[in-house]
């Protein structure tokens, strides 16, 4: 029997990026909030200090910071005719667990989405026509988000200043700025901090890209270039390029994370209560099934509780957001045969993979001297930054030399033809370790009728609830896009002076056995039409208005860039609506 607890105004399911950010906004508005986090509490001091935090085996290989998939895994298959199996070893994507969520072990690559991303369908139809889109693939789904870039700009700005993003503006109020990304959406003002120093590999890429007429710029980064105090009064320090950023927590207070830029301003508020090691099982609905009454969770000792709440925010990372909706019976599940239903629909990922450039022995790359989000890149092939007429695909990728580390277990590039073990392999590693540059291609993932999330019919979690099942493969459109760009990038690799350039680009079938990106998106997408979106433009459930599903689960298709800055902006946007409209008159913010 669940113990019924005293009601509160709001709960968040998960305390990562969206959960902590939303709670801080609501706490300032005076609400009594409980944050329920399935993982443990942890802080920069003492939990993230070195040397233990630089244990590559523990964090990179054994994934110490990731969702405990002995308790809750995700099942996977490429195609709905196959039987999905549980992913027992995270590789392709690495969802986090524990206070701060994945926003602790993220890299800090900090981009805004483009103007066109939010009006994707309208924009593409206008530029290329419906026939063109149809020819890219009849299974593809294009949708607008119901919110525009202009509406989000102040929220982007606010979130970047919260994180202390270090970068060089490319477009301030429509005026192109020297040194920045000329393709970026117009911003109101400069980044809060100057860009990080350019590593050598970035400088070599810059030269190569420039010689071909592209527009290199420093990657915007939430690894800070200098000490900074954010508008919440929280201080960050300068990044020391420690080389243990992605998959690790920062020991130097130098990477934006809930622990550095949000939680200290939240945890000291008497109207906020954090409960860790608490697994939320479901959202409870009243008999009308139009109102949530709260959530049921299990604590670390296995005791079940019912936490009544007026407002429920699902802030559990996209995959868990969708699963929570499905387990709670909120919204109609997507049916791939009829194309009807919204929860689980439009699951998208990210197209990644780039070339490896083997340099002469005289070029000392020093890859170990790096941060989570350093380096130099170009956006000439991003999103719809280039003309696609005459091509047979939509979408794009950014391209850059943005190497994050030279860690010994993970980084030992060898040219094709090298044996995979033994003396020859060792010799090749010694020869190439310090003379190899990786280039990243990273881009859009188009939604498809064939790709979706639902509940697995066979496999269950530690509490007996069905696991989330992922059915996904890259649409051919995305493969054509990535391979087209791969050709261009090979030329950059040569212009950089590469002796051997191993071509990159995304390939089919999608495999979960090597790391690509933790930018799982969609499944509970936002929009203006309740038949094609699970949440409205404020990420409020169409069916149960006191439930909001915050985060990238709301993306109708995935953007070119790493998505957290866009998630932060969307969260601020939704919270503005909750504070200024919803709390005054609880109910749907948009009529069906």
């Amino acid at each position: 029997m669940a113990t019924r607890l005293k009601p509160v105004d709001a709960v968040t399911i998960g305390v990562g990026l969206t959960g902590s950010l939303a709670a801080l906004e609501l706490a300032k508005a005076g609400l009594k909030i409980v944050g329920l986090e399935r993982g443990a509490a942890r802080f920069t001091v003492p939990d993230f200090q070195s040397p233990p935090i630089h244990d590559e085996l523990r964090f990179s290989i054994r994934k110490a910071m990731m969702q405990d998939n002995t308790k809750v895994a995700v099942t996977f298959r490429n195609d709905s005719n196959e039987t999905a199996l549980p992913i027992r070893r995270w590789e392709s994507f690495l969802p986090g667990q524990g206070l701060g969520g994945s926003f602790v072990h993220w890299n800090g690559q900090s981009f805004r989405a483009q103007v066109a991303d939010f009006i994707y369908k309208t924009h593409l139809e206008k530029r290329y026509g419906k026939k063109f889109l149809e020819a890219c693939g009849p299974e593809l789904i294009f949708q607008d988000w119901g919110v525009t870039y202009d509406e989000l700009e102040p929220h982007f700005d606010r979130f970047e200043y919260l994180c202390g993003v270090s970068g060089t503006a490319g477009n301030i109020k429509g005026k192109i700025q020297p040194g920045g990304n000329p393709f970026e959406a117009p911003r109101a003002r400069e980044y809060p901090n100057p860009a990080l120093k350019e590593p050598y590999f970035g400088a070599i890429f810059r030269k190569g890209a420039e010689s071909l007429g592209y527009h290199p710029y420093p990657q915007p980064s939430s690894n800070l270039s200098r000490p900074y105090t954010n508008p919440e009064g929280l201080s960050l320090q300068r990044c020391v390029f420690c080389g243990f950023c992605e998959r690790y927590a920062c020991e130097h207070f130098a990477k934006a994370s809930p622990q550095t830029v949000i939680l200290p301003a939240l945890l000291n508020r008497p109207n906020y209560e954090l409960r860790t090691n608490c697994e939320v099982l479901r959202i409870n609905l009243d008999s009308t099934r139009r109102k949530a009454t709260g959530v049921t969770y299990v604590d670390g000792a296995g005791n079940e509780f019912e936490q009544p709440a007026e407002l429920v925010l699902i802030t559990a990372f996209p995959l868990n957001n969708v699963r929570t909706l499905l387990l709670s019976g909120i919204g109609e599940p997507y049916d791939p045969r009829t194309g009807k239903g919204v929860v689980g629909r439009c699951y998208t990922y990210q197209t990644t993979g780039g070339p490896t450039v083997f340099m002469d022995e005289s070029v000392n790359v020093n890859p170990f001297m790096s941060s989570g989000a350093p380096g130099t890149m170009i956006d000439d092939f991003g999103g719809d930054n280039f003309d696609h007429s005459g091509l047979d695909f939509v979408g794009g990728q950014y391209v850059g030399s943005i190497m994050t580390n030279g860690r010994p277990i993970e980084f030992h590039p060898t040219p094709p033809g090298t044996p995979t073990w033994g003396l020859e392999w060792k010799k090749a590693v010694a020869r190439h370790y310090n003379h190899t540059i990786l280039i990243q291609q990273h881009g859009t993932s188009t939604a498809s009728r064939l790709n979706y999330l639902d509940l697995d019919p066979t496999y269950k979690d530690a509490w007996g609830q069905p696991l989330l099942r992922m059915t996904f493969d890259f649409p051919d459109n995305d493969i054509r896009m990535s391979q087209y760009i791969a050709n261009k990038v090979v030329a950059i690799g040569r212009a950089m002076g590469g002796k051997t350039v191993v071509r990159g680009g995304t390939r089919k079938p999608y495999s979960t056995t090597f790391y690509q990106s933790t930018h799982n998106a969609g499944g509970a997408v936002m929009g203006d039409d309740p038949t094609t979106s699970a949440v409205n433009r404020y990420m409020q459930s169409w069916d149960v208005p006191n439930v909001f599903s915050l985060g990238a689960s709301a993306f109708p298709q995935n953007i070119t860039y790493n998505y957290s800055i866009t998630i932060g902006a969307l969260t601020y946007w939704a919270l503005d609506a909750i504070k200024n409209q919803y709390l005054k008159a609880p109910g749907p913010l948009v009529q069906k």
């Binding site: 243990f244 073990w421 790391y515």
Partner: protein, 235 residues
């Protein structure tokens, strides 16, 4: 991404890779002249009279142990890169001190590199030390190894190496450095008199209370000895 046997090269990289700043230092060190420790030894012993530079040994001892007062830092075994950089900073005015500035200015770039190379090589003895209170030592150890979340302070060891052993070439050892010298430098950063490494050390020093400074200073002065005593007691 299969786990492969770690070869010797990779092991070297683990050590360097954990502290990325080193890479920067290596790059910079390559461009500064290589010192000759034999020539440096002469400067240490006799100074450069024609340039008005007294013998380093007067304050720092020929062994680099200085005297135990803590008015002068221990130099023995500090990296040549670091010593050379501090001398260059004194000469260039980024770091200033009534005694050291004219000395560093009097030395040419080559002599600075020579003397840095000499003191990097010598193995000066560790002098006997008076006891410090265990409460002070413990607080220092806490800051050095763990940090203090409430002050936004990470552990000293993140950069200065496990037990303050240093992360050569860029980052100096603290273990065995004299407490009064460490405390003095932290206060100089705190008050803006020492300006090299402003972003890192001034930021941190400003977050330390007087008590914290005394504690880390006492801890690092004593930590080598604590290690030694622990070893002795195991024998």
């Amino acid at each position: 991404m299969t786990a492969a046997p770690v070869n010797r090269l990779s092991l070297a990289v683990v050590v360097i890779g954990s502290f990325g700043l080193l890479g920067i230092a290596i790059a910079a060190a390559q461009t500064s002249p290589q010192g000759d420790p034999n020539r440096g030894a002469v400067v240490a012993a006799q100074g450069v009279p024609k340039a008005g530079v007294p013998a380093c040994a007067q304050c720092h001892a020929y062994t680099g142990s200085s005297d135990g007062s803590g008015a002068f830092p221990r130099l023995a075994g500090q990296s040549a890169y670091y010593l050379g950089k501090e001398l260059a900073d004194y000469a260039g005015g980024v770091r200033s001190n009534a005694i050291m500035t004219p000395i560093a200015k009097g030395l040419g770039a080559t002599e600075r590199a020579d003397v840095a190379a000499y003191y990097a090589e010598v193995k000066g003895p560790f002098l006997p030390l008076a006891d410090v209170s265990s409460a002070l030592f413990k607080r220092g150890e806490q800051l050095a190894k763990v940090g203090d979340e409430s002050k936004g302070l990470q552990s000293c060891d993140n950069c200065h190496g496990p037990g303050g052993a240093g992360q050569p070439p860029a980052i100096p050892y603290l273990a065995g450095q004299y407490g009064p010298y460490i405390a003095m430098q932290l206060r100089m950063w705190q008050r803006g008199y020492r300006r090299n490494s402003d972003d890192a050390m001034a930021y941190i020093a400003k977050r330390l209370s007087d008590g914290d400074i005394d504690a880390v200073a006492a801890y690092f002065q004593q930590v080598r000895r604590a290690d030694q005593l622990a070893q002795d007691s195991r024998k």
